[in-house]
Point group: C2
DNA sequence: CGAAAAATTGATGGGCGTCAAGTCAAGTGG
DNA sequence: CCACTTGACTTGACGCCCATCAATTTTTCG
């Protein structure tokens, strides 16, 4: 386990909020025009007042927690069409950052439209189910299984196309899977070497042997 | 990572449901008299119809998932006063079992009382927050930090008494923390040796040096 | 193009899993 | 009451997976 801090990696971006002419927590009709957020900008941080409900239009978002020494765990990625930002209390407990150029719609929970209100509980329960599945991955699977599960998860969430576009860096993947970037890279290399995947570039993965990948995810 | 199955450990209990004269999913007023569940009895299993909302009266419950080879990850323990059983879909995805003699109240979600209905979203969000925190523990903390965090979590959830009663076995703790029973036992021994805790017996822990324990949880 | 960041690859060591033996507590039957 | 069994827990020896440290290579972007 890395004891050495890695906050230095984050401090340049942490604290750098996205800026916009749009109000961040609109009090109006619940839905607003999309807001553009540049890569690595903070969407919210622990302590910020919660209450916004964010829908990803394009790009991608990472939600994570930090230990005091800088170790980071990404609890979820959010891709286009997905919703995030709900919190138990009245302040956020996590960081949320754009992983790349990202478009968001923000609704205020207090004034959210009826049809969205009804979706909050199913949405929270879906997040919970995904978190439980991820606990199984982090607690009980080895590096190969973790990466395979990650690729299959993205495969499904991107609509089942064998060409997977990764909106996140190797470090994001590592901090999602509880590994290091070196280990993630080595597993990618081994999958490539075994003809299970092809890498057009480091952000573009093609699944060549789906069955093998499924087997590996255990 | 353990590849060898451990299903043998569970099969004797798995499939053994608790039996009662009370209907399992009452369709009446939402709340029912408490139901007694013996140790290691299955409360629900994957595939079972969901919809019940369970409140722990006494004892304790483990909720977990299995990999095909038997590796187990406990996603949460539920202690007296706590609620569990909500699911995203219409069938359960996890196992829930009593860890010891346990009393439950079961309410049906469809006919749940108004005051309980309003608690469902906060409850789901609280579970989500706890799962996210647990992801940080499993993904980024070492064995000592995991056990320390576990003891502090139980300390707080049992009301802040320095005497902690463990309703779960070492194997449950290991499967909650993503470790083996041997490692859990070794960490307990080291904490004992360093005068951080005292063990009256294997199920009863006294926190002697709270500050040290907090430091260790990082 | 040239500098900086990201990703890959290699060498090495440590933490935790695995295997095995030993200890302890609770229960059973003679 | 005591030998015996059984299961839970503890302790020890050893090995492997992955973190760490380091050096390239590749990609990105001014």
């Amino acid at each position: 386990m890395s004891i050495q801090g890695r906050l230095d990696t984050f401090t340049p971006t942490a604290g750098t909020r996205f800026e916009t002419d749009e109000p961040r927590t609109p009090s109006g009709a619940g839905q607003q025009p999309p807001i553009f957020v540049a890569a690595d900008r903070v969407i919210y941080a622990p302590g910020d007042p919660a209450g916004g409900i964010y829908t990803v239009e394009f790009g991608g978002v990472r939600v994570y927690r930090l230990l005091t020494d800088g170790r980071r765990q990404i609890s979820a990625f959010h891709l286009p069409g997905e919703i995030f930002g709900l919190e138990a209390g009245d302040t956020h407990r996590c960081f949320a950052e754009a992983m790349c150029a990202t478009g968001l719609r923000i609704a205020c929970r207090r004034s959210v439209r009826k049809e969205l209100e009804a979706k909050l509980l199913p949405m929270a329960l879906t997040s919970l189910t995904q978190a439980q599945q991820h606990l199984l991955v982090l607690g009980r699977q080895n590096s190969m299984e973790r990466v395979a599960a990650f690729l299959l998860e993205l495969f499904e969430r991107q609509g089942g196309l064998p060409q997977i576009e990764l909106p996140m860096s190797r470090m994001d993947i590592a901090d999602y899977l509880g590994l290091t970037i070196e280990t993630v890279s080595r597993v990618f290399s081994k999958l490539k070497q075994n003809q299970v995947i092809r890498l057009r570039n480091s952000r573009r993965v093609e699944i060549v042997r789906m069955a093998a990948l499924c087997d590996m995810a255990s």
